[in-house]
């Protein structure tokens, strides 16, 4: 395995995590990562050594994602509720954690793809806004705008949900 392959393999867990959240489905996310990696292989000569491999890969993944979304309307997310909130990782009660995660998932699904990507990328990767803008291949101002709008929409969703009696929230 050459140096680039080695670096790329180390980034796959990060790509998967982002893709799973972006697509709302582990299977669809893995398909996206596979497509992105295959594209990256074909375009590997475009990677410049001075650039960040993670940024390069995320840029490719996000482009592939947008292209696939243009080709079809996203299907209803099929996320295993168990995977939404791991009680071991949260301070809330398991039930509350699941409710919060479920609410957040619905809020994220309702966001435009571009806002969802910005919100997820900053949260998951902890990158600066400059880096996030580069990874999504958009100007920094656009990134800020998408991030802030996306978060504001999520806050509204979550606060609306919080106002509901808990016993009613799970009724569908």
């Amino acid at each position: 395995m050459d140096e680039l392959e080695d670096y790329v393999e180390r980034e796959i867990p990060h790509l998967r995590r982002f893709a799973h959240s972006l697509c709302g489905s582990a299977e669809e996310g893995d398909d996206l990562v596979q497509d992105a990696l295959e594209r990256a292989w074909r375009k590997r000569h475009s990677w410049r050594r001075e650039g960040s491999i993670r940024g390069w890969l995320f840029r490719i993944l996000y482009r592939v994602f947008l292209n696939s979304r243009r080709a079809r309307k996203p299907a209803a997310a099929d996320v295993d509720a168990e995977s939404l909130a791991d009680p071991a990782n949260v301070r809330l009660s398991p039930q509350e954690a699941r409710l919060t995660a479920d609410d957040l998932r619905r809020g994220l699904e309702a966001l435009p793809d571009e806002q969802r990507a910005a919100v997820l990328l900053v949260a998951l990767e902890g990158v600066s806004y400059d880096e996030a803008a580069s990874m999504l291949d958009v100007p920094i101002g656009t990134l800020r705008s998408r991030l802030f709008r996306g978060r504001e929409a999520l806050r509204r969703t979550m606060s609306d949900v919080e106002r509901m009696p808990a016993r009613l929230r799970r009724v569908k």
Binding site: P13, V33, L37, D80, D86, V119, L124, R151, L154, M158
Partner: protein
């Protein structure tokens, strides 16, 4: 700048500062951090905003942990590809078809023995595929089989017109049959003989999706049988007579271009012949087969679908 613009500019600046603070991106800028903390202390809405952003970030991270497991298909994705990857539905097909392949070879080459000698890499491949959520439903899998077959089978069966050339190891082809196995998988069985040593080997080939498996000897009986796959076809080689070096033959078969053509009539796609089931007639032989010995079957009419026969 008008008064409204100044207010708007100030509002945006404040908003950005609070987002940066909530994201922990101004820790290295004490002045900015102090300003943000002052805003939070003075303004309940600012404090709520920072708390909300942090809660959103935390929930996103908690619900999407980094997974140490790396599916094989992703590990292999940033590598050279010998052939186009099957459509997505092919993944379901892969599990089923590969199981058929392995199941067949296990039965074909091991016979009545209850012990199997399926290569570990193949088992790992199957396990990875079959444990993938959503890909175990039988209906989806069968739909995948049909679709994958429609897309990929024709090309693969064209490969069935050729066979590995073992002449470099002194073996010449003397019999070829094609049958159907399992769910309509085409199976080619070829027998080779070494006239000097009297050794005979039997090679079985059938379509196998996706995953190359390097030659591996079966666990049972040492060198009595060997399995491998080039990601396109799955191979099983066994010794029928004597103790030939199966590893050397497998290496020959795995060498690029080390194949010989056994069918000269390419006007009829080999894929069409699977409609006549079961097919047991040998392939039509070609006079120019380099390793063909005198006991190789003479040219035989290719097996045609019913409509072709009626039309002739």
């Amino acid at each position: 700048m008008t008064g409204m613009e100044e207010i708007e500019g100030g509002r945006r600046w404040k908003e950005e500062l609070l987002h940066l603070y909530a994201d922990g991106l101004i820790r290295r800028h004490p002045d900015l951090a102090a300003t943000a903390e002052r805003l939070i202390a003075e303004d309940a809405e600012a404090r709520r905003m920072v708390e909300d952003i942090r809660a959103i970030n935390r929930t996103i991270v908690e619900t999407a942990p980094l997974s140490p497991d790396l599916p094989l298909r992703l590990r292999e994705a940033f590598r050279p590809h010998k052939r186009p990857v099957l459509p997505r539905i092919g993944h379901a097909a892969a599990a089923v078809a590969a199981a058929l392949v392995v199941g067949f070879f296990a039965g074909h080459l091991i016979g009545a023995s209850s012990r199997t000698s399926i290569p570990e890499a193949t088992i790992a491949f199957l396990t990875e595929r079959q444990s993938d959520p959503g890909r175990v439903a039988a209906d989806a899998a069968m739909a995948g089989v049909q679709a994958a077959r429609a897309v990929a089978e024709a090309d693969r069966l064209e490969m069935g017109r050729g066979l590995p050339d073992f002449s470099g190891a002194g073996f010449t082809l003397f019999d070829v049959t094609r049958t159907l196995a399992g769910e309509g998988q085409s199976l080619v069985t070829a027998q080779y003989r070494n006239p000097e040593s009297g050794e005979i080997v039997e090679l079985a080939m059938m379509p196998m999706p996706q995953m190359p498996v390097p030659p591996q000897k079966g666990a049972e009986g040492g060198g009595g049988r060997i399995f491998w796959s080039d990601g396109l076809l799955a191979y099983g080689l066994k010794a029928s007579e004597g103790q030939p070096d199966l590893g050397a033959l497998a290496r020959l078969a795995s060498s690029d271009g080390n194949w010989m053509l056994t069918a000269s009539d390419t006007s009829v796609p080999a894929a069409q012949t699977i409609e006549a089931a079961p097919v047991t007639a040998p392939f039509p032989a070609v006079g120019a087969v380099p390793s063909a010995s005198s006991d190789m079957p003479q040219a035989i009419e290719p097996v045609l679908p019913e409509e072709h026969r009626r039309g002739s």
